[in-house]
Symmetry: C2
Subunit: 370 residues, 2 copies
C-alpha cells in the first residue's frame, strides 16, 4: 500500500513535563486502533492495524506529528472515522487534529455533497453572485407567523429562507404544519415575484422519526433542509442527502471541538468532515459577529469546502452568526462569489425586516454588477 | 408554571475583562432560545420562550448562574435538549454546564434505561456482587479469532464480553459473521460451564444500516449491545433500547466536552444525559488508568447514574479504560456493588488472559463473600 492509499492525520501535540513527543505519538497510534500496549497484538495486526508514526517534528513549543492508518479501519463508516480521528484521545490532553488526508478509496465511499456549489446554484437559479440566506425566528412563534416571515423574506428577494436551528417540532409550530405553511408561503411569494426563493426546514429532531420529517419536507415541495450534525449525529447528513434534498449543516455544538491545543481544528470538522458527510452548505459563525471566531478559521473552512477533494463536489461556505447586513459586500470581497451569506438578526433589528432584506439583496446584486 | 416544571441549567461562568456576569447570563438565555437581542422578539415570546436568569452568584473566581427554560422548547426531542444546553454557546467562551434539573414532563418523554441496574442483574443472573466485563480485541483479528476470545472469557466466568469500540464492520471481521460467531461462542461456553455470560456487540456504524445491525444482534440471540453515542448520535441509544436490548454506552469523543471552564461536566453528559437517552450501563475512563480522569469525576458520574431521577431506572456505572485487574477489589470498596468493572488490556497483558480473567472473577466473588 502506498502512502497515498492510507489515511493520514496530522496532530499538533503539546507535551507536558516529562512527556516525550515520540512516545506520545506512538501512544495515539495504538490508542486509536488496537488499544493494547506495544507488542500486545498478534504480529500481523501490529503490522497492519496499528497506526504508523510517519514524522515527528518540532513546531514552536508544540510537535507536529503525522500518523497514517490503514483505510480498512474505516471504509465507508463515518462514525468510525470520527472515532479513529479523535475518539478515545479526546479523553487525553494536548492533542489537536490539524490536518487530515483521505485516500481515494475512502472518499469514494462517502461521495460528499449531492448538489455542491453548482447544484445549489442550479436549484436556486443564482449564477453570477453569492447567495443570500436568512433564518425565520424566533422559536415560539406560530407556524402561521413563521410562514408570514418566510413570505416576506422571499418576496424581498432572499434566495434561501431557513428555519432557525432552535425551531424544531415545538407545540407553538408543529413540524408538519410549519413546513407546509412555510413552503407554501415561499411558493406564493415566488409566484408573486417570479422569483425562485427556497425554504429549507430544520429536520433535526428525534432520530426515530427523522425519515418521516424528511418525507414531510420532500412531499411539501422543499428542495433542501437544514440539519444540526452534532446534535443528531454527523451521519444523519448522509440520510438527508440520500433523499435528494440540498443539505445545509448547522454548527451548533461544534465549539466543543475548538479548544486551543486539544480538539479538532475548525477547518477539519466543518470543512472536511461536514463536506465528506454530504453537506452542500456549511454554516459557521463568521468573524466579527456574535461569536469569537477568528477570520483565519473562516478562511480555512472556506478553502476546505471548495478545494479539490477526490471526486467530491465543492460545498458552499455559509458564514452567519451575526453577520451585519451593512458589511456583507465587504465579506463578498474577502470570501468571494461562491459563498452563501446568512444574515439573520441584523435584519430583525431593523424596523422593517422585509425592507432591510430587500436592501441587502439589492446591495449584493449591485456589488456584483448583476 | 412552577419552578419545578421548568428545565433548570446551572452554568459556571468565567468572565473576561469587562464582561459582566449578569449580562453574560442574559446573553446565554437568549442565544439558546430566540437568538435575537433584548426586546427583539414579540412580547409573548419574550415572556415564555427566552430563558429566565434565576440567580447569579460568585463562586471563587467564577460565577454560578441558574437559568430556567420552558420545557416546551424540548418536550421529547433529545437533539434539541443538547442544543438548548450547549449548542450555540459551545462557540462562545467561559461557559460550563455544571448541573441540570429536568421536570417530570421531560423525564417521562425520555423514559431512560429499559433494564437499568435491576434489569441487567436479572438478565445476567448476578445479584450479590459487582459485574465483571471485558472487551474482545484488537480490531484486525478475524471473526473466528474474536469468537475464540469470547469463548475463553465466558468460560473464565466474565459476566459481559463486549466488542472493543473500534471493532465495527471491518473486512477482517464483518459485522454479521462476527456477531453470529461471538454469540455462538459465548452460548457454547455457557453450556460448558452452566454460566450465563452475555455478549454485547458494538452496533455503532453507518446510521442508514443501524436497524439492520440491531436486527442481526437480536436474531443472533444477543441480549445487549454497545453503542458510541457521540460517534453515532446520542439519540441512537434510544433506537437500540427500543429493540429490547440492554444498552452499554461508550465514552469515545466525550472528552471534547470536558474542558476546564468551558463545556459540559462529565457527570451531566455521562451521568444524566447518557442515562436519559436509555443507557443501562455507561462506560467511562476510570481514574488511575490510561486516561487522566480524576476520581471525583468518576464518583459524580456514579451518583448521577444511580440517584433517583423521576421514574427513570438507575443505570450501571462501568469504569474502564485501563482498570488494573489487581486493583479491582479496591475499586469495589470505593464504588460499591452496583458497578460493572470493565477490565480489558490488563487481562491481555497477562501470558494467559483466560486464566487472568478467572482469577479476576474469583477475586471479586471472594471479596463479596459470594
Amino acid at each position: 500500500m502506498t502512502a497515498a492509499e492510507r489515511i493520514r492525520v496530522t496532530y499538533l501535540l503539546t507535551c507536558a513535563a516529562g512527556e516525550e513527543p515520540e512516545a506520545k505519538a506512538r501512544d495515539i497510534a495504538r490508542e486509536q486502533t488496537v488499544e493494547l500496549p506495544e507488542g500486545g497484538a498478534p504480529a500481523a495486526v501490529e503490522r497492519q492495524i496499528v497506526g504508523t508514526v510517519e514524522t515527528v517534528e518540532p513546531i514552536g513549543e508544540r510537535w507536529r506529528v503525522s500518523i497514517s492508518y490503514d483505510p480498512v479501519l474505516v471504509d465507508g463508516d463515518l462514525p468510525q472515522l470520527l472515532n479513529l480521528l479523535f475518539g478515545n484521545i479526546s479523553l487525553k490532553a494536548g492533542i489537536e487534529v490539524a490536518d487530515l488526508a483521505l485516500p481515494p478509496a475512502i472518499l469514494e465511499h462517502f461521495g460528499g455533497p449531492r448538489f455542491g456549489i453548482a447544484g445549489v446554484r442550479a436549484v436556486s437559479g443564482v449564477t453570477e453572485r453569492p447567495l443570500v440566506c436568512t433564518a425565520v425566528k424566533p422559536v415560539g412563534l406560530s407556524a402561521q407567523d413563521l410562514a408570514e416571515l418566510c413570505y416576506r423574506f422571499a418576496r424581498a428577494g432572499i434566495d434561501i429562507v431557513k428555519d432557525d436551528h432552535s425551531v424544531a417540532d415545538q407545540r407553538p409550530a408543529p413540524f408538519t404544519e410549519r413546513v407546509a405553511r412555510c413552503q407554501d408561503a415561499v411558493a406564493r411569494a415566488n409566484r408573486d415575484t417570479g422569483g425562485r426563493a427556497l425554504y429549507f426546514p430544520n429536520v433535526t429532531g428525534p432520530l426515530a422519526t427523522l425519515n418521516e420529517r424528511i418525507d414531510v419536507a420532500v412531499r411539501a415541495g422543499c428542495r433542501g433542509a437544514m440539519v444540526s450534525p452534532l446534535a443528531l449525529g454527523l451521519d444523519a447528513v448522509r440520510l438527508v442527502a440520500e433523499h435528494g434534498l440540498v443539505v445545509f449543516s448547522h454548527p451548533t455544538l461544534t465549539g466543543v471541538f475548538f479548544h486551543e491545543g486539544h480538539g479538532v481544528a475548525p477547518h477539519i470538522l466543518l470543512g472536511t468532515l461536514f463536506r465528506l458527510a454530504g453537506s452542500d452548505g456549511v454554516i459557521y459563525t463568521n468573524a466579527g459577529g456574535r461569536f469569537p471566531f477568528p477570520v483565519e478559521h473562516c478562511e480555512a473552512i472556506n478553502r476546505r469546502l471548495r478545494e479539490p477533494l477526490g471526486q467530491l463536489r465543492p460545498a458552499f461556505p455559509v458564514p452567519g452568526g451575526g453577520v451585519d447586513a451593512a458589511r456583507v459586500t465587504q465579506w463578498v470581497d474577502r470570501y468571494g462569489m461562491d459563498t452563501v451569506f446568512l444574515v439573520g438578526s441584523s435584519l430583525y433589528a431593523q424596523p422593517d425586516p422585509e425592507a432591510a432584506a430587500r436592501r441587502l439583496v439589492g446591495a449584493v446584486k449591485r456589488h456584483c454588477h448583476e
